[in-house]
Symmetry: C2
Subunit: 439 residues, 2 copies
């Protein structure tokens, strides 16, 4: 294929004096690299051999679907031995910035690998206690009114290495990276319920996934969050196979396992199924030995993504080093993130970027002023030792707990829903290590 | 690598009666596909051979960096004959939804391919009329205070096939897809200017790219938009090679060519360079024969992405078909999108999704009620013929012009900055074609 659609159209040629001026700029540009040289409309004098190759060589081509830069961030993975695709991959939060996670870096948790779903044969059944059961093919679903919103998805088991007594020395993404945030687009459950007519006595929604894990989740209708949808698109494009193509549940604020991928059936019922995902897994053992079920809602949480454990902090060229991280809550939007640099004795407010939205990532930033070195130097001496931590508050007034408080409340048998304050120490040599704070 | 971090923790086994209830659900689940069968905790009886393969076979594995679904949307490309990588690729807007464009589908326009920039050797020079010139390596840039915001980037030549007298019968993405929207993160020009100190007499910013096109752009300092930045991240991850790795300009609201990729140098100057990208290309020939330079700001615009030219519209299962599209403006945020279904005689307001932001995509939706067919049918008869068009208004009061108005103002020699109302006709057979409206 070829086209000249976006080509330069030579509506007006430059005057001679303009040519000269441009040539002088190009000469300076060459001189800046130690060569008196010009390119493009100017002559190329001797010395041009010192120009970078990229100025002299036409670049590489491009493709139908772009790929990340060589050496760019990838996910850390853990695959259960003896399985084809049971396991998890962590989003490298410490190598990213902003609030959107690219689809290729969204965390994944597969209970039995990625199933082969034939889109042409696939139907979404909506049935049970309904007036009119439906069986919808993908094209029919796509014609229904749709809705887009950003929402995080977090595995209930995210951060659970932090229940351990000793702080694990791993980068933020490998501790807290079972959470990602995307813009999801789909058909809301409200729209589907209007279509089928919810029957008298329906109290539960049962969602079946098409993977071989036997995925079935029971959800109280009364606890379905605003914006709950059958999602068809993630960050603009159709769902990827690993994210549940052709359709998955997105339930803003609830734990990841409830947001069933490769969705095959929605059943309105008067009772829960009590599947293994309702009972033996994803339940919370309490200090008194009982276990809480259907604790689907994720707590308020924040993590500092930069500086990151395992790196050395060296002052920036401006005397200010960016401290930055992510905050989110399953029950609302973030209204405040506090930062401490002395281990919790003093806290001050970080800047929340943009307008925080319900159940979406909010990026916080905190310009850490540690003195202004020579701004022409790329590297300066290590900064003084500090103890950094962040603490988030959401729109319902929930405050991220301290670690000791969380353990006191949840006990030592807890495994899911770790959302306590995480702290890092920056030593006198600039090294960043993970520490547990008191309180 | 292996780990059991996110595994089920068997805190509590289900009771026998719960097992029974779950088994009954699985039996129903099997029965729904014509087989009395259970999976997981239930026995697998005869007839299980009729279950879908995905329920009986462990799925495929996953990788460090996820890929799109097989058969998913890709970009249409045009490469200039005889070059390695000079050309364009169009974002398939008609196959996407929401407001974020995945990085792999962001449009690209390369004037001389993708250069090989060695990150370790790369420096960003900030010099010219400044108090303290700087040469910053990537690690130093990344330590500076950063800023994230969504912004569209649109090639000035986007939609220029619409200047033609006859409406081109191509899908929305291939006509209007030289525009995409991402969340960008980087160091604002304001931060960099504070670092170097802008010298007396500086009126222009000159940006040099490292590709072989001789890319140099002159920008009046007074016209730099809010949020102008040296971007390092796109939708969370480090810039891709095709998007200017390691750094590019992002100038919210300005035409794409000004947002220089593979940025190598910023020069503060008292005058423009008048490079070929300032003069012979990306200038606007006027009806009187003169040519306007430095017309960098993009206009207010909207396009309907669904229904899409080339497809047939068939009623949705609810009697409502989603009409949806994107709107954006280089001078503010979208405050209104009007829809017509009768070729412009009557207009009514579409719903704007979320909170429209300056110089970002806004998704509009308009549930088109065309009668409620049998909701159990997946397909219904074609709907009545209609003439659909959208018209956007931004926060500065600018209104997207009609096509005749735009041509009257810009003349028949215009090539860039086409932002007129685009219309489609849905015929009695449901086919969607592109049409030019009067007015």
């Amino acid at each position: 294929m070829s086209s000249r659609r976006c080509w330069a159209r030579y509506a007006r040629w430059p005057t001679v004096s303009e040519h000269d001026r441009a040539r002088r700029h190009w000469l300076r540009r060459g001189a800046a690299l130690g060569a008196g040289a010009g390119l493009g409309i100017a002559d190329v004098p001797a010395g041009a051999r010192d120009l970078p190759d990229s100025w002299r060589t036409p670049g590489q081509g491009f493709g139908n679907y772009g790929q990340p830069v060589d050496g760019g961030p990838i996910r850390w993975m853990a695959v259960e031995p003896g399985t084809t695709g049971t396991g998890v991959s962590w989003t490298p939060l410490h190598e990213l910035d902003g609030t959107i996670i690219p689809n290729g870096l969204h965390f994944e948790r597969h209970h039995a690998g990625i199933p082969a779903v034939r889109t042409e044969e696939w139907r979404l059944a909506v049935e049970g206690l309904v007036d009119t059961p439906l069986s919808l093919e993908l094209a029919a679903l796509r014609r229904l009114p749709r809705h887009s919103r950003q929402a995080f998805i977090e595995c209930a088991g995210n951060s659970n290495a932090l229940w351990r007594p000793d702080p694990v020395q791993a980068p933020v993404g490998w501790l807290h990276g079972l959470v990602s945030c995307s813009e999801w687009t789909g058909v809301t459950l409200a729209t589907l319920f209007d279509l089928v007519g919810v029957g008298r006595g329906a109290r539960w929604l049962i969602a079946d996934g098409l993977d071989a894990s036997g995925m079935t989740i029971s959800l109280p209708l009364a606890a379905l969050p605003d914006g709950a949808m059958v999602a068809l698109f993630q960050n603009g494009e159709p769902l990827r196979a690993a994210q549940g193509h052709p359709a998955r549940l997105v339930l803003p604020g609830l734990e990841g396992v409830a947001q069933v991928k490769w969705l095959g059936r929605l059943t309105l019922s008067d009772r829960p199924v009590l599947s293994r995902f309702d009972t033996v897994a994803y339940t919370d053992l309490q200090p008194d030995g009982s276990s809480h079920r259907f604790t689907r809602t994720m707590g308020v949480k924040s993590v500092i993504t930069d500086p990151a454990v395992g790196r050395a902090v060296i002052g920036g060229p401006s005397g200010i080093t960016e401290v930055s991280g992510l905050a989110w809550s399953g029950t609302g939007h973030i209204v405040r993130v506090e930062l401490t640099h002395d281990g919790g004795r003093h806290w001050s407010d970080a800047v929340l970027e943009g307008t925080p939205r319900d159940t979406a990532f909010t990026r916080f930033r905190w310009p850490w002023e540690h003195g202004r070195p020579d701004i022409t130097a790329d590297r300066v001496r290590p900064v003084r030792p500090v103890l950094l931590a962040s603490r988030a508050t959401d729109s319902t007034g929930r405050v991220q707990p301290g670690r000791a408080t969380l353990i006191r409340e949840q006990g030592h048998g807890a495994y899911y829903h770790y959302n306590a304050v995480t702290a890092v120490e920056i030593g006198a040599d600039g090294r960043v290590t993970h520490v547990h704070l008191e309180g």
